[in-house]
Symmetry: C2
Subunit: 283 residues, 2 copies
């Protein structure tokens, strides 16, 4: 695996690609089985698998966890070698946002919904770094996890709106054996917090069971989720939402094939998200 | 000259370009000698000369002149044929901003300076449409006029920040025989207003003469301009500014090779801009 730490070395490494197809998995590192499922699919569908590791400062607010975000580059490199990644782009912070940097992408409606309410500049940072990485790597396909469903929807919209020549593939949530969605931030949880956090996938499971039984009404679905999350006082609800896939507008009834049920909670100091997708996000 | 009115026909026309270099001149039509100087240079420096005509709604505020902006597509087509343009992209409004469109580019500091103070969303619209057109046309070089100096500086910054593989060329202001900078909006002026408008290039000429005589101080330079513009009550000053090229920060003294002196005025209902560039904008 070739490792590039500068834009210059990345450009140089990519200059010899020729007609080979490039698949790309952008990450913030501290890789888990969710990331690796993306790399595996990327490996299968493209001649070259390119991964980036960059903890993007632009998507963290000043009060968020940029400085303590977990990092383990040596372990990440070993995992990516094992997945037969061809190229790892691991730039320094200054390489991506040099002094005088000031261009940002806003996906104006979508960025304000769901997580955007409590993280108002988060998706501005996400869209910007993803566009920059797309421009640097030039992939034919890029891979994202469904756990960050709003992120995926925003990137899909950006790709369509800006006519970017990349196919976005969104792969299913990978869960730990206890049901918790894989996330680099799970490492923050104490054992007691982890047990509390399991009410999040449980709440979504309850919602899925209701829908399976024919319930369509948003109030009933949100109530079963809120009841589940209320079972542990360590769980503090940020939001529970049932929205349409394209525009994240609130739904009053499940639209088959076009619904996202999403929730965000705080467990102690850790913010966790999870969702249930009734439809297809890839383009 | 091939004329494409849809993104699909543009993509199809460009699919056979192969290794030929593409030069691109984005315009809002109602072409004048300034535009044609860009097309001529584009023709000289590239295998293929592509021009777009699109009156971009995103760069007009609701109170501005979108609906009465001058249009004459037949005349434009004849002029571009004469300049041996290879391809004209002339899309409908809906083709560029279809329903659900919501991705915008912000060059956050630069967009708020100079004209951004009275036109707060103008450069958001400019940067967005230019990025979209760059992505659709895929040029190696793109051509802009120095009259819209802030626009050129914003596009140069966007290109650098987003790693776009395009060289931006900024060509000198073309003036009518009476000294007024060429602008599609000059057609709005009555003969009386046109005479009043000539105080704008005159003011910049006075500034240039002062600088030639060794004056460096911003107050003296701005005063000579304000005095000139005050000679006609039809002229209403929006701003007179002396700024650094890279960041449009106010200068208190001319920095040789790195200074833009710019002014915007209203003459009747018509807003006019002009500038004096002491430096080089192309990248």
């Amino acid at each position: 695996m070739k490792i590039c730490r500068t834009i210059e070395s990345l450009s140089s490494a990519l200059s010899s690609v020729g007609q080979q197809s490039i698949g790309f998995v952008p990450t913030m590192g501290f890789l888990h089985a969710g990331h690796l499922s993306l790399v595996e699919k990327c490996r299968q569908e493209n001649d070259l698998a390119v991964v980036s590791i960059y903890v993007n400062p632009a998507q963290f607010a000043p009060n968020e966890d940029l400085n303590r975000y977990p990092r383990d580059p040596d372990r990440d490199i070993a995992l990516l070698e094992k997945e037969r990644t061809d190229l790892l782009f691991m730039p320094d912070a200054m390489e991506i946002y040099p002094p005088g940097y000031e261009t940002y992408i806003r996906v104006e409606g979508l960025e304000a919904a769901l997580c955007g309410k409590s993280r108002p500049r988060h998706f501005r940072g996400v869209a910007t770094v993803v566009l920059k990485l797309f421009n640097l790597v030039g992939p034919q396909r890029a891979y994202f996890g469904q756990k960050d469903a709003q992120q995926a929807i925003i990137i899909l919209r950006m790709v369509r709106d800006l006519h970017l020549p990349v196919q976005v593939r969104v792969l299913p949530i990978v869960r730990d054996s206890d049901g918790l969605a894989m996330s680099s931030r799970n490492v923050y949880l104490t054992p007691v917090e982890r047990r509390a956090a399991l009410h999040l996938p449980k709440a979504l499971g309850n919602a899925a069971a209701l829908i399976h039984d024919g319930v369509r009404d948003d109030a009933a679905i949100k109530k079963t989720m809120a009841d589940e999350l209320a079972k542990d006082p360590l769980v503090c609800i940020d939001y529970i939402a049932m929205v349409r896939l394209q525009d994240l507008a609130d739904l009053v009834a499940v639209e088959p094939g076009n619904t996202l049920i999403a929730a965000a909670v705080h467990v102690g100091k850790t913010r966790l998200i999870d969702n249930l997708l009734l439809g297809d996000l890839s383009c």
